[in-house]
Symmetry: C2
Subunit: 415 residues, 2 copies
Amino acid sequence: MSERIHASYWLETGDDPARTAEVIAGEQSSGTFVALPNETPELKARSGARVERLDVLDTVASPSLPGPYPATGRYTRCALELSWPIENIGPSLPMLMATVAGNLFELRGVSGLRLTDLQLPPSFAERYPGPAFGIAGTRQLTGVASGPLIGTIIKPSVGLSAQETAEQVRQLVEGGIDFIKDDELQADGAYCPFEDRVRAVMRVVNDAAGRTGRKAMVAFNLTGDLDEMRRRHDFVLAEGGTCVMVCLNSVGILGLHELRRHAQLPIHAHRAGWGYLTRCPQLGWDYAPWQKIWRLAGADHLHVNGLRNKFSEPDDSVIAAARAVLAPVMPGVPMAAMPVFSSGQTGLQAADTHAAIGCTDLIHTVGGGIFGHPDGVAAGVEALRASWDAAVAGVPLALQAERSPALRSALGFWR
Amino acid sequence: MSERIHASYWLETGDDPARTAEVIAGEQSSGTFVALPNETPELKARSGARVERLDVLDTVASPSLPGPYPATGRYTRCALELSWPIENIGPSLPMLMATVAGNLFELRGVSGLRLTDLQLPPSFAERYPGPAFGIAGTRQLTGVASGPLIGTIIKPSVGLSAQETAEQVRQLVEGGIDFIKDDELQADGAYCPFEDRVRAVMRVVNDAAGRTGRKAMVAFNLTGDLDEMRRRHDFVLAEGGTCVMVCLNSVGILGLHELRRHAQLPIHAHRAGWGYLTRCPQLGWDYAPWQKIWRLAGADHLHVNGLRNKFSEPDDSVIAAARAVLAPVMPGVPMAAMPVFSSGQTGLQAADTHAAIGCTDLIHTVGGGIFGHPDGVAAGVEALRASWDAAVAGVPLALQAERSPALRSALGFWR
C-alpha cells in the first residue's frame, strides 16, 4: 500500500461540515472551485486528498474569523483529518508546507482552521536527517550526563560590547553554568560584531574548560544569510565553540536544512515569531505539527517557553509543546530534540516541569533567578541544580533547602 | 544621523498603552521583563528601540486574543510606530524578522498585535538585489509590451501526467495565452515528475514560439530543497523556459534569497499559507510589510488574490496588496514586482482592477473564464484582452462587445 501523509485540523464552518471538509480536501489536491472535465475518477482516486475523519465537536453562533459567510447563525466546530498520497509531492518538507498549510486557511466556508497534528510516512525520515546531536550529543558535549542543562541568556539582549558579553560569560562559567545563549536579537550588530563576540567569549570558555575539564555550551546566534551562517558556524567551530543558534522563522526551512547539512555543531533553534503563527486559537498552528517539520530538518534544541512564564501562553500549552519535542517524530524514529524552557524561570518550576515531562532531558534557562542570587552566580546555579535534584527525588523544595544553603537563600527571592 | 528601521503596528492592550508600547520596544531591543543593572542609559540610547508614535484609535470591552490579562474590561486599540537603530542588526532580512516580528506577539499585555507597515533604510536596498526582471523584464521575455499578461493555471492542480499537462498547454499557447503557471501543489510528484513535465511542456511552447515568434511564459513550480531548486531552475533554463515559481512560506527567506542568487529567470512567488499569517485581523501580518521583504530578496511576481475572489479576502485588501507590490520598496528604490491576480477571475474584473491600481503592469490569471468559452480557448483569451482594452480606454464592456464577438460570447457565461 502506498504511503499517505495525514494532517489533522480544528475546523469551524458555517456550511455543512462534510461539504467543507470535501472542499478543503479537493482544493488541496486535484479539485478546484468548479467541476473540471479532466478531473476523472481515476485521477481523483490517484491524487485526491481523502477525508479520513470528521468529528463534530460543538456549534457556536458567531464565526471566529471574519468572512463573507451566509448568515446561518450556526458555525460547527469539528476535528478533521485529511490524508494525501505521497505520490503528489514526494517526501519534501517545502511541498508538505504548501499542501497541509497552503491555500486552505482563507477558503470561504472556513471561519476557523488550525493545524493540530501531522503524521508523516517513513520516507520523510529517510530523506531528512533530523538532529545531528539531539539529547545524547548535547549531553556529551557539555559533560552533563544526567539532570537538565542549567542555562541562561545574555542580557541585555542587545547593546553589550563583545568584551562586556565575555565578562558576563566569565561570571557564568565560573559559576558552573552548563549552557549560555545569545538573545535572538543579537547576531552581528555594529556594537557587538559576531566574530569579536565569539572570540572574546570563547577565550573565557576555553580558559575555564582548561581548568575544569568541562566546557560550557554557548549557543551563538548566527541567524543571517546562508553564506554568513556557514562562515559564522565555521568561525565558532574554529574557536572551540560547541553550539550555534538560529531563528527558524527568520531563515525558513531551507535555511535550517542547509545549515544542518553544513554544521558540525548542535543547532539551537529559536522560535521567535511563533506568536503570530499560534496566538489566535482559531487559526494557524499548534506546536506539535510545527516542531516536527523543524526536527526533521535538523533542530537539536527547540524552544517551548516555560511553566508560569512571562508571556501569555498557558502551562498546558507549554507542556504539550515539550512533550511533542521529546516524542518520536514518527513510530520507530526518535529524532528527539531537547526542549528549551525559558521566560520567568527559577527552581520553583523544576518539580512541575519534571512531573509534566517525566525526564530531565531539557535545557532550563534562568535569568534573574541566577543573577539575582544574593551569594552570586555560582550559588544561583547551585540552587537551580538543587531544585532539580529535589524534583527528581520527589523531595519538597523546603526539605531540600535544609541540605543546600544556596537553595535556601534562593527561596528567599525566587517568586 | 544613523539609519533607523521603522515598523508600524495595530496594537490592542488592556494595560496602559504607553506602558505596553515601552514594554514592546524594550523587549525587542535592550530591555527585558525586569530592570537590569547593566542596561545603562548609554546602552539604552545606543541600542534601545524607540516609540515614535502612539495614537489611540478606540477601546473595546473584550480582548481579541485570549490571555492572562487583569480584568480591566477596557482594551485600548492604537496605531504604534517603533524604530530601531540599524546598528542592532545591520541590513539583514533574517534579523529584521526576529526584530520586528519576533517575540512580541505573545507579550502578556498584548491582546492583539499586527504588523501594518515597514520602512527600511537604504542599506537594505544596497545589500539585497530585489527582482532581477520585475515588470520590464517580464514584458520583454513575453513580448507583451503593453496591457496585462493574460494567464492561467494548469488544472486539475495535481494528478495530470506530464503529457496531459503538455496537452493543456498546447491548447493555451495555440489560443495565444501569455502566461501559464503550475499549481502550488505540483512540483515533482511521482505521476508528473518535474523534468518530464518541463520537457513535454517546453516542446509545445518552443514549437509555438518558433511559429509565432512569441513565447508564452510558463512558471514551473520548483519548490523543494535548495539543490533541487537550483537543478530544476537549470533544467528549465536549458529547455528554453522563461520562468520558475516558488512557494515563499515553504522555502523561507533564505530559500528565496539563494534562488535569486542562482537564477537567470524571473521568480514567480506564490504566497500559499498566507492565510495563517493574516486571517485573524488582530494578529499577524498585513501584506504591505510582508511583500516588501520578499521583493528585497528577489520576487519578480507576487500573488495578491483578485477582486470578487473565491476566497474570504475582501476587495479593499486585494487592492491594498496590489498597490503595495507596485509601490517603491523605499523612496527612490522601485524594485517593482508584478502583482498576480487570480481566483474566480474573468474579464468582468478588468475595469475595476484597472481603476484600482491605475496601470496594466500585472498578470491576470483566469481559469474557467478562458476554458469555459463556447468558442474555445483562443476566444477566451481574446475576450480577456478585449475586456482589458475596454478597461484602459474607459469603454463599457457591453459597448466593447459590439466590436468583439469573443467578448460578446464571453459575457454570456462570465459570472
